[in-house]
């Protein structure tokens, strides 16, 4: 069993899926794509199970190891992220299957053709992005990270552009952001290489000395990656890009794509940069994170469009992710990093559920202006329920993944005496409650006697997919033991990590 090349399979299986979808006739795109998604998820989860059972896995592509060849490395942290991608990926795929389905009954042949092309493009690009996301999580060298990161970014831009119309300017802006972000990252890679002569993640860390060069490398990489993760004040591009994309794409972007850059930052912090260099930058990131929590929540409260509200909520939640860079190095053990990682996966499920639900509601209502959604709750009960389940996690209320990560955050912050972080985490939860319940109140409001919105029928898959992700977000709170144990596999946040990987 241990000889199975599962790590590389997690990358080439979705890649192969993308290829098959592209080569096959267009009318089979959805079926091929869905098949590819299911197999990809199965391979991903198989890899995760292997890591959980028998420890971290390493694979050298083509028999070449570091520093010259490409080396893949999956420990508990990577595995958890791959599991997140598999679960969210397969549910969103189900949703997309119904969402992009071409209405064969309509007369307008030209329109049908457009829809069919859009559907085919979605599946090609999405499977490509899936392969690249897994690629980031499995990469053990800085350059490979760059390549996969670039593919994720470009694919994400293409997915946003699928919506056409007002999404196009948003996609354009997103394109510039993602390109400049990865270029800044690449600049940092070059600087690190110039000092140590190695690109292997763990060896680079050993050879990098604290100094001006390391500082410069860190700063450019942090700016680039923070831009791509939409940390305040670099978040300007996110709300339109996430809100105007098609609903399944919004879910993928908020759930997975921004976690990719977060993941790379954590890796840089733990294994590459010396604490003397990274600690002050971490404090800055934490402060920006605190501001993001408050500012993003406030903006979310002010939105009139449902998907905009959910998108601004992402800006706020990204803030929590960045708290760990200030917090985690200060506390003993890995509790701080665990809080961040657990927050990342629970946000993925929660936000995924909320975007999917928002998409279903918007499709039924015909638009996503909240003012005109009064009283639709009874007919769209499942969607609003899914939205609520995701919302519970954002608020950090039990039983949910958000509750567990909030608990871990406050534990770390209290252990290091960080009162401000405790207050911000608590306040952020209350603000999240404010904007989530604003939406739920719409559902509970009694329908006006006349002028009630006329709803279009929507496929029930849309509602059920959202509900499944919402249920997972809640389940993460009830069964936190296993994911947290997986997170310790290979000690990703401990000292022995570097020892474990260098041959």
């Amino acid at each position: 069993m241990n000889s199975l090349p599962l790590v590389s399979a997690a990358i080439w299986v979705p890649l192969l899926g993308a290829l098959v979808v592209s080569l096959w006739p267009r009318r089979y795109a959805a079926r091929c794509g869905m098949g590819g998604a299911i197999v990809s998820a199965a391979v991903g989860l198989g890899l995760v199970v292997m890591v959980a059972l028998s420890g971290p896995r390493r694979e050298r592509l083509g028999g070449w190891g570091a520093p010259a060849g490409i080396e893949l490395w999956v420990d508990g942290f990577s595995a958890l992220m791959i599991a997140m991608t598999a679960v969210v990926g397969v549910v969103v795929s189900m949703y997309a299957l119904a969402y992009f389905r071409v209405d064969e009954g309509q007369d307008d042949a030209e329109r049908r053709e457009v829809e069919r092309r859009r559907e085919a493009y979605f599946w090609r690009i999405w499977l490509l992005v899936w392969a690249a996301i897994n690629g980031v999580f499995a990469s053990a060298d800085l350059f490979n990270l760059y390549v996969t990161l670039e593919v994720v970014g470009l694919g994400a831009v293409a997915l946003v552009a699928l919506a056409g119309g007002r999404a196009l300017p948003a996609a354009m802006r997103y394109l510039f952001v993602t390109l400049s972000g990865s270029l800044l990252y690449l600049l940092g890679v070059v600087l690190i290489y110039s000092e140590g002569g190695t690109l292997a993640l763990f060896q680079a860390g050993e050879s990098l000395m604290a100094g001006t060069l390391a500082q410069a490398a860190l700063v450019v990489m942090v700016v680039g990656l923070a831009l791509k993760t939409a940390l305040f004040p670099l978040h300007f591009w996110l709300p339109p890009a996430h809100a105007d994309a098609p609903a399944p794409v919004s879910a993928l972007l908020s759930a997975l794509v921004i976690k990719v850059t977060f993941y790379i930052l954590v890796r840089l912090w733990v294994v590459v940069f010396p604490a003397a260099v990274s600690q002050p930058v971490g404090e800055v990131l934490m402060i920006l994170g605190l501001i993001a929590v408050i500012w993003g929540s406030w903006r979310a409260l002010r939105q009139r469009r449902l998907k905009m509200l959910v998108a601004y909520s992402t800006v706020a939640q990204v803030g929590y992710l960045f708290l760990v860079f200030g917090l985690a190095p200060r506390v003993d053990g890995s509790a701080g990093w665990q809080a961040g990682a657990y927050f990342a996966i629970s946000h993925a499920c929660a936000k995924g559920a909320m975007f999917l639900a928002a998409g279903a509601i918007a499709r039924a209502v015909g638009h996503d202006q909240m003012e005109e959604m009064r009283g639709v709750g009874a007919q769209l009960a499942r969607s609003f329920f899914a939205f609520g389940l995701g919302g519970i996690s954002l608020m950090g209320l039990p039983p949910s993944g958000g509750y567990v990560s909030k608990w871990l955050f406050i534990t770390s912050a209290a252990a290091s005496g960080d009162v401000i972080v405790v207050i911000a985490v608590a306040l952020g939860g209350l603000l999240a409650a404010a904007y989530v319940f604003r939406v739920l109140a719409l559902a509970f409001e009694r329908a006006p006697r006349e002028g009630a919105p006329q709803l279009r029928p929507i496929p029930s898959t849309l509602e059920w997919a959202a509900l499944v992700l919402g249920a997972v977000a809640v389940a993460l709170g009830l069964a936190a033991g296993a994911p947290l144990a997986l997170l310790e596999e290979g000690l990703p946040f401990g000292q022995s990590l570097a020892e474990g990987v260098t041959p």
Partner: protein, 506 residues
């Protein structure tokens, strides 16, 4: 892992599972829904009956499994939890019967009964919590499950009430969670222990623990409606009558009061609380709440609003008894948890009947109503007299025990509080009774429903009659071994170990 291991969890699930199933039902599946509701409630009662017998004989039931490293979900059935569990389970059954009649024709019933059941599960979870971690979990879940009930009617007013309710309770819950995490970082994880988990072992953290105590009391005090944290309760009276009954008597307010009881007895321990001088402050805060809320109740015209202020005042009796310290006062406070619940639920049922049958919402409209609704008003009168503390009703037992407890613990000032508040109770309850019986009816009533031969629907009439009878029985048979009072004495002998216990001689 025997069956006994799972018993406390089964008690929680016995209302959660039917609740989740009810969400999936269509509006018109009335029979299925009613069957599920009653099946859940009866299963719960049966399970609890088995546990009560066991606990009486000294058996301990505990479900425990790790939820996060270092944090176990613990459901623990000892004497004090069982008191609250029995109260909520019995009143849940009665309230369900009432709610089935009350909501017969209104929309959104599946949603209503679904959340109703989740609400009771959360309450049971709170009751059985074996540590603070588990307590917070169910405490927050209760907030979530009650919100849809408060806004059930979907009117602007109801949504506003829901907003205020959330603003108060979520803030309180967040503060509680932060305080609990903080306490864990100070002393490490621990379970509730009869006699106090912290006690004097943590002298070195004295300062921090004192601060944490007040933060926790304040957070719990939001749900327990301690003045000035009570603002949500009078507003939330826009909820349907069965919800008010649940909020005031079974679930929300009680959860807060019960939390404070556990904090004092099972976390800090009564001796540690006394050493730190926290009890007097608690009793003082409770007294202010009792007097202030009684005054406010006096000036209300809306019946449910008056009842809401009365709850604020009456629940503080529980806190008063806990704060005064000493076994007798403790008995008085804890037994009031049950007595107040049964009396208040009767009053809300009756208020609901007046509103449903005759459209009466205000005290000024109750003239002569006893002629039209004799059973309802009889039940109302019994419960009101109980609240005032007229012997031999349930309320008298609590007040008497509290009074003697106050003397025993050397706080005679508390007697004055009790006396003044009883006078105020009489001043706001008796006019209603007087109007109903001795004034000419104000016909026509604002709205006359069609109820057939009876004064109102059977399922609306039976619940208050039963609970009113309970008010009498709990008073008359207070000394019988099966009464709440005897059970509370059992609890208190376990809280106060050694010769200090002298509660048998009532």
């Amino acid at each position: 892992m025997s069956v006994l291991f799972w018993l406390p969890l089964a008690v929680v699930l016995s209302s959660l599972v039917p609740g989740l199933a009810i969400f999936l039902l269509r509006e018109d599946q009335i029979v299925t829904r009613t069957t599920l509701n009653l099946l859940g409630a009866l299963t719960k009662l049966a399970l609890i009956a088995a546990m009560v017998l066991g606990v009486y004989q000294g058996q301990v039931y505990e479900t425990r499994f790790p939820l996060m490293p270092g944090f176990d979900l613990v459901l623990h059935a000892s004497a004090l939890p069982m008191l609250f569990v029995v109260l909520s389970a019995v009143l849940w059954l009665i309230t369900t019967i009432y709610a089935i009649g009350y909501l017969e024709r209104s929309p959104g019933r599946s949603r209503f009964f679904g959340f109703f059941s989740v609400c009771v599960s959360a309450t049971t979870g709170i009751a059985l919590s074996g540590n603070l971690f588990t307590f917070v979990l169910f405490y927050e879940l209760l907030t979530l499950a009650t919100y849809p009930l408060v806004v059930h009617r979907g009117t602007r007013e109801a949504l506003r009430a829901g907003k205020i309710y959330l603003a108060y309770t979520l803030t309180g819950g967040t503060a509680l969670m932060v305080a609990v995490v903080w306490m864990h970082t100070v002393v490490g994880p621990f379970d509730f222990t009869e006699g106090g988990a912290l006690s004097a072992h943590y002298e070195e953290h004295r300062q921090a623990l004192m601060v944490l105590f007040w933060v926790m009391v304040a957070s719990l005090g939001v749900k327990a409606a301690l003045v000035p944290l009570h603002g949500w309760l009078p507003v939330a009276m826009v909820a349907p009558a069965p919800v008010s009954a649940l909020l005031h008597a079974v679930a929300v307010v009680k959860a807060g009061a019960y939390g404070i009881v556990r904090l004092v007895y099972d976390v800090y321990g009564i001796t540690f609380v006394r050493d730190l001088g926290l009890g007097t402050g608690l009793a003082f805060w409770a007294s202010i709440t009792i007097l202030y809320a009684s005054m406010r109740a006096l000036s209300q015209d809306k019946i449910k609003r008056m009842l809401a202020y009365s709850t604020v005042s009456q629940v503080a009796y529980i806190i008063l008894g806990v704060g005064l310290g000493g076994p007798l006062a403790s008995v008085g406070g804890i037994v009031h948890l049950v007595h107040q619940g049964v009396m208040k639920i009767t009053l809300f049922f009756c208020a609901g009947n007046l509103a449903e049958t005759l459209g009466i919402h205000r005290i000024s409209q109750t003239r002569g109503v006893a002629r039209r609704m004799p059973w309802t008003m009889a039940a109302f009168t019994i419960a009101a007299l109980g609240m005032i503390g007229v012997p031999p009703l349930a309320g008298f037992i609590s007040k008497w025990t509290l009074g003697t407890g106050a003397m025993a613990s050397g706080s005679p000032w508390a007697l004055a509080v009790l006396a003044v508040s009883s006078a105020l109770n009489a001043a706001y309850f008796l006019p209603v009774v007087f109007r109903a019986y001795f004034q000419e009816p104000l016909r026509p009533w604002p709205r006359e429903g069609d109820a057939g031969r009876l004064e109102t629907h059977l399922s609306l009439l039976v619940p208050p009659v039963i609970t009113a009878i309970l008010v009498i029985v709990m008073g008359l048979a207070a000394s019988s071994p099966a009464s709440p009072l005897s059970w509370v004495e059992l609890i208190v002998t376990r809280i106060y170990p050694g010769p200090e216990t002298g509660v048998g001689g009532l």
